[in-house]
């Protein structure tokens, strides 16, 4: 049985850092989406998302990221994803997610991107 998706949110230098662990499937998204949204969207927080411990992403996970990116853009903020595992990155390449949400290699680059 897979462990439930976990989310951890911290703030530093006016950037929200979100760490996700587990599978971004329908139950996982149902579990974290509301908390994720309320933590970053209302105040328009620039956000970096650590995907290094996300083993799988389904269409609901993509939908969550796309929805968040659009909502943050409306509040003049950015979201940047970083360190996706190879299978997750393959999904990102297939759907060309980079055209909607920046995806970079590591946290340092993500923070630089989010701050500009």
């Amino acid at each position: 049985m897979n462990k439930p998706l976990e989310i951890e949110i911290t703030y530093a230098a006016n950037i929200a850092r979100v760490k996700l662990r587990g599978r971004l499937d329908t139950p996982g998204v149902d579990r974290v989406e509301a908390k994720f949204t309320s933590a970053v969207v209302p105040e328009g927080k620039n956000t970096v998302v650590d995907l290094s411990d996300v083993s799988f992403i389904a269409s609901m996970g993509l939908r969550m990221f796309i929805g968040l990116a659009k909502a943050l853009r409306r509040n003049n903020a950015k979201m940047v994803l970083f360190a996706p595992q190879s299978q997750v990155n393959e999904v990102f390449n297939t759907v060309v997610l980079r055209e909607i949400v920046p995806i970079v290699v590591d946290e340092a680059e993500a923070v630089r991107f989010a701050a500009t």
Partner: protein, 376 residues
């Protein structure tokens, strides 16, 4: 004894009387739910009478499968607990992945495997089961409606089509179609709406009907890039409850054997050579449909050799967890395209059987939709 039901296939399941007992709806019942194999979703109520399972027609659950013994095992309720007894079957009875010796307790939530048949023990309030059964019946109707929109296989002619679809949650967001645009051109497409369940199915039906009826104003359906551009304009996610979809759309012209195609957020389709030794991916790497309003899609083309086959499928075909719970992907799936045909099975069925044998017990995580177009 309940009458056997003829499901039009080789398996007949004798179902115990599983209507709810009168009286206290808060009472609990022990149910064995089919989560893999034939009769997916069916619930078998356990009561004072044991249930025998086997290949023999006299069994309460008869399974026409070569890996099931004539009288394979028995399920029974003893002092409020469910037990399964193996009746010296050849291939064994498994509880939570472990082969049993004689009898074994089956706790609530445990899984019993008999060949390809997978049953899960659920101890539930009878009221909850009644509500779930009503929902299942509605979902079944929705699923049947979506299936009724899919085209019939084409078994004769220079372009033939065969397919196999298994929705994951009774009804899903996958749909596909094909058909002649005129005497020379033949369109083929597969869509996959984000998520699954009734909402995704409703959107997939809307898209499918637009494509089936060629109902995109001012659009040349022989131009895949135009089709995707128009669909993208028409189905922006903000207007469709946050849903988007992927699509692969192609048009084959029998005069020059060209196949022109466009893809939006979809993994490649593959053209498999006549000798099955090679396959070529076909993709234009376009983005998801319904996400970026100003996006323009491109098209590409290729030539189809006589005897080739186009394989078009949803990501539920390859995004599976295996028996060790390892997540598999496209690279693990692709070698199946080179494998030989199996007599008596269509190509999509062959692929499904291999995927099913590889995946962990229980329903697949996503819709399984597989379409093969053969070009003479």
């Amino acid at each position: 004894m309940a009458q056997p039901e003829d499901h039009g296939d080789r398996t007949t399941i004798y179902r115990r009387e599983d209507t709810l007992p009168e009286g206290n709806q808060e009472e609990f019942g022990h149910y064995m739910v089919v989560i893999g194999g034939t009769g997916l979703g069916r619930r078998l109520l356990l009561d004072s009478e044991p249930i025998t399972i086997g290949r023999d027609a006299s069994c309460d659950m008869a399974l026409a499968s070569p890996d099931v013994s004539r009288r394979h095992c028995r399920l029974h309720l003893v002092a409020g607990e469910v037990f399964v007894t193996d009746l010296r079957s050849t291939n064994g009875t498994y509880v939570d992945g472990k082969r049993i010796e004689e009898s074994m307790l089956v706790p609530d939530g445990s899984i019993v495997e008999i060949g390809q048949q997978v049953l899960k023990h659920e101890r539930r309030r009878t009221r909850e089961v009644k509500e779930a059964q009503e929902l299942d019946r509605d979902l079944e109707k929705a699923r049947n409606y979506v299936l009724s929109l899919l085209p019939s296989p084409i078994v004769t002619g220079t372009v033939q089509a065969e397919w196999f679809i298994v929705p994951s949650a009774k009804v899903g967001g996958d749909a596909f179609g094909y058909g002649a645009l005129d005497n020379d051109r033949f369109a083929i497409y597969l869509i996959d709406v984000s998520g699954h369940g009734v909402g995704a199915a409703m959107l997939s039906v809307s898209i499918l009907n637009v494509l089936r009826q060629l109902a995109l104003p001012g659009t040349d359906f022989g131009r895949p890039d135009e089709v995707l551009n128009r669909l993208n304009a028409m189905f922006q996610m903000e207007n469709h409850n946050g849903m988007f979809f992927t699509i692969w759309y192609g048009v084959y012209n029998r005069l020059d054997r060209s196949l022109v195609y466009s893809s939006g957020g979809h993994h490649p389709a593959y053209v498999v050579s006549p000798d099955r030794k090679a396959f070529v991916p076909l993709t234009t790497m376009g983005p998801l449909i319904g996400v970026q309003e100003d996006k323009r899609f491109s098209r590409a083309d290729t030539r189809i050799a006589a005897g080739s086959a186009l394989h078009l499928f949803s990501d539920g075909v390859f995004e599976i967890a295996d028996k060790q719970s390892r997540q598999l992907g496209l690279s693990e799936f692709l070698p199946l395209l080179n494998q030989p045909a199996v007599e008596g099975r269509s190509e999509p069925q062959r692929i499904y059987q291999t995927v099913r044998n590889t995946a962990r017990p229980g329903p697949l995580d996503d819709d399984f939709s597989y379409l093969v177009i053969k070009f003479a």
